[in-house]
């Protein structure tokens, strides 16, 4: 029995070192050597070393001059009560989905409230049918993308605040739209951070 324990312990330690140590370490070394941009998180910088964000991780955008991402269900600890959480959209240190089910009253209420707020902020949308991603939260809470239909709905608002024509903005949107991979995989999408950075460069806010 003792020899069984001995060999079992040795095989455990050997595989611990191999699978939990050498494998991730070797991969890290190789990845950072040949693919440093991706391995470090596809970070977008301002040209002076400051990190603006990651092109893969969504951010919370407010104000009519920006394209907005999807609602996010991420939270953070309530500063007044460590046992509670408060909403903190696009919190990339505590990812979560809403986890509200198909018959959830909380989901129904959230959709109604958000729809009302949206219609007030952008009256031209009132009564319109919206693309599926406008009011729904993503799985990660960090979805970097919106659908082209969602972007199209925001063109006029952004154009107006930035003093550009809707055509110019639409062109910028299509430049930042990714198609399906190989024409089959995934969905067409617009990366919100990249679009907003391009927007700020071409039509800066005064």
């Amino acid at each position: 029995m003792l020899s069984t324990v001995g060999s079992a312990l040795r095989v455990s330690l050997v595989t611990l070192i191999l699978c939990g140590g050498l494998y991730p370490a070797a991969l890290t070394v190789v990845a950072r050597l040949i693919l440093p941009y991706q391995a470090n998180g596809s970070l977008v910088t301002d040209g002076q070393g400051g990190v603006l964000g990651s092109r893969l991780v969504g951010q919370q955008w407010q104000g009519p001059e920006w394209f907005h991402g999807r609602p996010s269900a991420t939270t953070t600890t309530d500063p007044n009560d460590p046992n509670k959480t408060i909403p903190a959209p696009y919190n990339a240190a505590n990812t979560t989905a809403s986890n509200l089910g198909p018959t959830s009253k909380a989901l129904q209420d959230r959709l109604t409230t958000d729809r009302k707020a949206l219609d007030e902020a952008q009256p031209d949308l009132a009564g319109k049918v919206l693309p599926a991603d406008v009011l729904t939260t993503s799985a990660s809470g960090l979805d970097p993308d919106i659908t082209p239909a969602n972007a199209a709905l925001q063109v006029e608002r952004v154009a107006k605040t930035r003093g550009a024509t809707p055509d110019e903005i639409t062109q910028l949107v299509s430049q930042n739209t990714s198609r399906r991979t190989l024409g089959i995989l995934g969905e067409p999408r617009v990366n919100v951070l990249e679009l907003n950075l391009a927007l700020q460069q071409k039509f800066p806010m005064k």
């Binding site: 060999s7 595989t15 990845a31 969504g58 089910g101 989901l107 919206l130 009011l135 960090l142």
Partner: protein
Amino acid sequence: MSVQFWLQIILTLLLVVLLSIPVGRFMARVFTNQKTTWDGFFDPIDNFIYRLIGRSATSQAMDWRTYTIHMLVTNLMMAIIIFLVLSFQNFLPLNQLKFPGVDALLAFNTTVSFVTNTNWQAYGGETTLSNFSQMAAITFPMFTSATTGFVVAMAWIRAFTIRDGSSNLGNFYRDFIRFITRVLIPVCFVVALFMVLQGAVQTFDASVSAHPIQGGGDQTIVVGPVASQGTIELLGTNGGGFYNVNAAHPFQNPTPLTNVVLMVLMALLPASIIITFGDMIGNRRQAWILYGVLGTLMILFMLTCVIPEQQGTPILANAGIDTHYSLTQPGGNMEGKEVRFGISGSALFAAITTAFTTGAINSAHDSYTPLAGVTMLGQMMLQCVFGGKGVGFLNALIYGLIAVFIAGLMVGRTPEFLGKKIEKQEIILVSLALLIHPLVILAPTGWSILAPYALSSLGNNGIHGYSEILYAFSSSAANNGSAFAGLNANTPWFNLATAAVILIGRYPPIIFLMAVAGSIARKPITPATTATLRTDTLAFGFFWFATILIVGALTFFPALVLGPIAEQAAMRGGLVF
């Protein structure tokens, strides 16, 4: 629904079938000690490791008892290591975010969950674990638990091929090491590099602070050794994510292409093992019959998941959301799904992760339509729609033995499978192994819905709340690990109850099955005659299929009616809770 919607699904499944053939053939050679192209590279490594483990341990022939004991003791040793790493991570390196040691109950639950290939996560990765723990307590057992299930299946297949009455099922340590060094690590390394190329992160740093251009507060972005873990997580049908949201996180699953790669990885080995089985028993036709049975089940379940998701839900439609597919937006039920995957890439992932009992998720299962819930729960309840590494295959064979036994009784012939007589002793053990699964799902679910300390964990009210509990125990029992994550599982009750369910659902069935292997090994192989009930025919395939569905439905249908099926009716009737 568009052409692309279906093309993506067909392409993924086709890739699985095409890849499983060469991989299955290769594994059959590895596990019957035949020559392979890579021996020159791997033999010295393996021999070095055998020497470290001990010459006598790695060269002895093992009967079922010895094999099982070495497997169990090894699992125990690993559990102790994992528990210690989690509990004392605050004293270990690479804890840049200064997490405290994991609380004892949660560490116990996590240890049990990962050593058994379940990967049920009552914690959020990026808010609980240091990078050291992610590697030494999470990535490490992802390799070994997958291997444990796989080698048990190999020992089982060998039992059916033994002709001389020997009781030698192979050497546990050799099987264990060979699977890790020759299959898991090489595939993971190559695929993980591809994942990084696509945007997955791989670093020992813990976080990046970003300053968004529109001002406001900084965004802290947690990073770490994600690609290395996010690859074995799928290949080993483990399912434990680096992040709380698992493969929905853009750092683990950045593009539609990585999404397909991850789905193929999940399905690859459980599908390949059937090809391996055919080669090892020398009857490829038998393997393809089984492949067909499980494949048909999988496709039926998959359709029940993807079609309702594209239809969406009444509350989305009532809020003025376009649930119809168009060229510029996916429509359907996008609550809890990512834009880059859309409906098709998310719902197929959900169907695959529960079929192959992986438990990785790329969308929030809790927010799925009730019928999709039937697919997810149903596949975990049957636990053999390909199923997890090794174990799912064994469950499919259990149903096969039961089908043989019933068919034998019906036509009045001695039940035989692959030339070995199936007798009372085997059927008793096999039935016990089969009955544990419903017991550990239904009993704690029933208890929980009467217990206030369980109900306070619910994230959704009404029928869906019951489904959350049923899902938790189905997932634990089936070594899946995905969740209806609205449920707060990090409570004393759920940490203890799910850990108990995981342990009882994993080890006793394996022990019973190994005992069956022991008695099968000793039986002589009866040559097939015209009077033999052949099991490699289409007719028996149908019978096998029906046995799985009927036995499974009789056992679990009432539990499903109370949950997702009732919820479907309520949803159509416009009720909310």
